[in-house]
């Protein structure tokens, strides 16, 4: 037995172990412009996300394209380093509690203890054997099988590579291990000596899964693993993933846009919107009593085989705002059908509205911001400024936005707008282990609950 196995044998495999703890993870990509490529802003792809993945469980991660799911998946699997917060691997339940205490405690003693804990568990601070231990125990299966499989390698080399790198097998034994992995994902010996391009999209995804399984990991991050597969193969793979999980205590972070799949597979669900968690909780509870309007919109848009034939799918209006300038308050307020005056209405909402109404936008010369809620909009003519001011008082804009306006004053060609300042909407508890980041909390108004 080699050094890696010693490390793994020290890990106590108890069910309430937290395989992975994600704490306030941020990933901001710099936006560079100009000849000198100076940084003019940041795309906040992931902006303060926390959750746990426990041994043997499946956490489903859903959300719209570009909301940061893949970025988060890459941070979790150590393929990219977060720009803030940390990802911790292999903590017991007690150690996670300690971690949370330390993170909240600013004292020098706490920081020293934290630093020590981070050297052993924080995945971007690991070294030597601990790092190898993490690397082999956390694998990833990607969305785009074309990009993730080396086009010049044969299947036997692709699937066998981790076994060779970690000196698990060689020669005939390696071939047999690869054949057995291929058979587990519904392929066979006759596929060993082919190149990725000789397979259809679905067959390539199975090769990726076989490769991820090779080292018998604790956690696999699955980024849209079955979205290119038809249902029959998907059923095989979902059954297979379940069996592997049951037999080996494997945990999954399951990133997908298919709500039928997460509903079937996930123990817990995290919905993400624009880099933050909108709602998280037990899967059945979330589907039965979704607390966040965004989760409700996702469920309304999902076609289901058991629906009435007449049911139409509901598209969510509006588009995902720029993650470089996420909305204030609640990030969903620009698209939320039930938004309140407290949801974070801001100067950018006026600018967004101007962008969609062409004539007025052309007259806009500049925006002088005091902060996100307070600014003077300069126009080329006083008429244009008056036009905006009267629109802001009309019902052309949402009522909630209008009520959030504390001041609209025209002076010359400028309109001063000031909205009510509100803090970012935080997650609040809605039930045991069920959290949502929405100001509307039905359980507060109905006094009877608990």
């Amino acid at each position: 037995m080699n050094a890696m196995n010693d490390v793994s044998s020290k890990v106590d495999r108890r069910a309430d172990d937290v395989v992975l703890a994600v704490r306030n993870v941020k990933k901001h990509y710099p936006i560079r412009e100009g000849v000198f490529q100076s940084v003019v802003g940041h795309v906040k792809a992931v902006d303060g996300v926390s959750f746990d993945i426990r041994r043997g469980e499946t956490v489903g991660l859903v959300g719209e394209s570009g909301c940061g799911k893949s970025t988060l998946g890459r941070c979790v699997s150590g393929l990219s380093d977060p720009t803030g917060g940390g990802v911790y691997f292999g903590l017991s339940k007690a150690e996670v509690a300690r971690l949370d205490t330390l993170l909240a405690d600013g004292s020098a003693a706490a920081q020293a203890e934290l630093a020590q804990m981070e050297r052993r568990h924080r995945i971007d601070r690991l070294e030597g054997a601990a790092q190898r231990h993490f690397r082999r125990n956390c694998q990833m299966v990607f969305q785009d099988s074309f990009a993730s499989l080396n086009p010049r390698q044969l299947v036997i080399d692709i699937v066998g590579r981790p076994l060779r790198v970690y000196r698990e097998a060689s020669g005939d034994a390696l071939t047999e291990r690869v054949v057995s992995l291929l058979e587990q994902v519904g392929l066979g010996r006759h596929h060993l000596y082919r190149f990725p391009h000789q397979f259809s999209g679905g067959q390539r995804q199975r090769i990726s899964i076989a490769r991820a399984l090779a080292l018998d990991p604790d956690l696999i991050v699955l980024d849209e693993p079955t979205s290119a597969l038809d249902v029959s193969v998907q059923a095989q793979i979902l059954n297979l993933l379940y069996e592997l999980q049951r037999d080996r205590g494997l945990a999954y972070l399951f990133v997908t846009h298919d709500l039928s799949v997460v509903h079937h597979m996930a123990d817990r669900l995290v919905t993400m919107y624009l880099g933050r968690v909108a709602e998280s909780g037990d899967t059945n509870t979330v589907f039965e009593t979704p607390q966040h309007p965004y989760t409700r919109a996702l469920i309304a848009a999902k076609p289901d085989l058991n629906d009435d034939e007449g049911r139409t799918m509901q598209a969510l209006e509006g588009r995902v705002p720029d993650p470089a300038r996420p909305p204030q308050g609640c990030r969903f307020h620009t698209r939320c059908a039930v938004a309140t005056p407290m949801c974070g209405w801001e100067v950018d909402d006026v600018v967004r509205w101007l962008e969609s109404s062409k004539g007025v936008f052309d007259a806009l010369e500049g925006v002088d911001r005091t902060n996100a809620f307070d600014a003077a909009l300069r126009f080329s003519s006083e008429a244009a400024a008056r036009n905006l001011a009267s629109t802001l008082r009309s019902d052309a804009i949402p009522a909630a936005m209008q009520q959030a306006l504390e001041d609209v004053t025209v002076s010359g060609g400028a309109v001063r707008v000031r909205f009510r300042e509100v803090p970012e909407v935080e997650l609040t508890e809605r039930g045991p282990g069920h959290h949502a980041a929405c100001l509307i909390n039905p359980s507060h108004s109905s006094s009877g609950a608990n």
């Binding site: 038809d230 039928s260 799949v261 999902k302």
Partner: protein, 440 residues
């Protein structure tokens, strides 16, 4: 759904179909023999309808879809037999494109056969409609159809976009070529200069150098309208992107494909295909990388296009719940063959091929216990030199000796519903399989 049966057309026989695939057979040579990727596939796409094409991975859906545009990898692929005929649309003669009863208010109608001008002749098989055989069309003509009369959304957005051009330049090309009228309107170019201006824009589009800031724009009648045109172009491109709910369309315009996420690239490709105003849209898993709210939006856009232009859609997908919702008819493919085809409600209420039944049982739901999805046993057979038997043998729970000795043909079992399985084809015969009997 559109009424296909009694639409006046002015042509000898109004073609109710926009395209028909007949006996399409595509082979790929491999070390162990010939892979029969697509085997005598026949179906038609009716004018204005959405036909779903579903089936297991590798069953030949994409190869079938790509054959419409000669995008098959030939060689190494071999087109063994078959035809794909297509009836392009043209501006409606009765209303000059403004919309009338004759064209279902779309302003578009099947184009008349050029050799008989609609009366019906041998070349158009008596239909009077222009008939193009796509598989054997010369390169220059198929290039003119590609992205114009027929547009395709590819399964792999990574490969479909040009990595060296910005998103804006790729989409501009489409607008310069296919949406010339709108650009000229926006630039305020009068009717007397239209013809010349349109030709100049077409030339710009075909230069494919990614830079439209060009000498051609300094020629009359475009001179002086240069900025108006460039603005209109930029606005139209941004609007097309915005329709697919991409954030910050004006910024996306200046980015390169590799700077976008998979879902964003897929939407760029969709915007590009829809902007072409095609008569036929081949959508190969167009929404696989997209989440459900955007998917619902894309489907609305496709439906809009169908209303506006009478566009027919071949919708390739593995999502049965989605196909059930959006398709008029569905074709189920298995191992290179069509095994069941018919009206959507018939297929889903009364699935009549053992494979179709298997597929429907494999759909994950919350009610099914984990690990207990009904996966169809076994794997897709190697399509190398297949024997003359039903392709589903070995996986079918009902197979009998007959199934291993003969290949069932697609046969109608009821109005608008055809199946290829001996349960229906040889029903009653002594050695015929039956749904009542499981053979394991």
């Amino acid at each position: 759904m559109l009424d296909m049966t009694n639409r006046p057309s002015g042509l000898a026989n109004s073609p109710a179909t926009i395209a028909s695939v007949r006996d399409l057979t595509v082979h790929f040579p491999s070390k162990r023999g010939m892979v029969h990727a697509v085997d005598r596939v026949s179906f038609e796409i009716r004018d204005g309808e959405t036909l779903g094409l579903v089936g297991e991975t590798g069953c030949g859906k994409s190869v079938t879809g790509r054959s419409f545009l000669q995008l098959l990898p030939i060689p190494p692929g071999i087109l063994a037999q078959g035809t794909v005929t297509f009836h392009p649309h043209a501006r409606c003669g009765a209303c000059a494109g403004t919309g009338c009863d004759a064209c279902n208010s779309t302003g578009r109608r099947p184009a008349a056969c050029p050799s008989c001008t609609g009366a019906g002749c041998a070349q158009c098989n008596g239909s009077g409609a222009e008939t193009v055989e796509l598989l054997r069309l010369p390169e220059d003509r198929i290039r003119r159809i590609r992205g114009d009369r027929i547009a395709m959304i590819f399964q792999d957005p990574g490969k479909a976009l040009n990595p060296t051009l910005t998103i804006g330049d790729q989409l501009s090309e489409v607008f310069l070529q296919h949406r010339t009228e709108e650009l000229l309107d926006a630039a305020g170019i009068g009717p007397e200069d239209r013809g010349l201006a349109a030709r100049l824009l077409g030339r710009l589009a075909s230069q494919r150098n990614g830079s439209i800031d060009n000498l051609l724009l300094s020629l009359p009648p475009l001179r002086g309208k240069r900025n108006l045109l460039l603005d209109a172009l930029r606005n139209n491109v941004a609007a097309a992107l915005a329709e697919t709910q991409i954030a910050n369309p004006y910024q996306i315009i200046d980015r390169y494909p590799h700077e976008l996420s998979g879902g964003m690239r897929q939407r760029v490709m969709i915007a590009q295909a829809l902007a072409c105003n095609p008569d036929l849209l081949i959508a190969d898993e167009p929404t696989t990388a997209l989440d459900v709210t955007v998917q619902a939006r894309i489907l609305e856009l496709i439906k809009d296009l169908q209303k506006r232009r009478q566009t027919s859609v071949l919708y390739i997908s593995h999502d049965l719940s989605l196909v059930r919702r959006i398709c008029d008819r569905v074709a189920v493919m298995y191992a290179g063959r069509v095994v069941e085809i018919g009206r959507t409600d018939r297929i889903f209420r009364n699935p009549s091929h053992p494979y179709t039944r298997g597929l429907l049982h494999a759909v994950p739901t919350a009610a099914t216990k984990r690990g207990q999805l009904m996966a169809i046993k076994g794997t897709v057979p190697e399509l190398v030199d297949p024997p003359p038997s039903c392709r589903f043998v070995g996986r079918c729970p009902h197979e009998k000796a007959l199934c291993r000795s003969k290949n069932p043909e697609l046969a109608q079992i009821s109005d608008e519903h055809s199946v290829s399985c001996f349960i229906h084809d040889a029903a009653g015969a002594a050695d015929a399989p039956s749904f009542d009997e499981k053979t394991q």
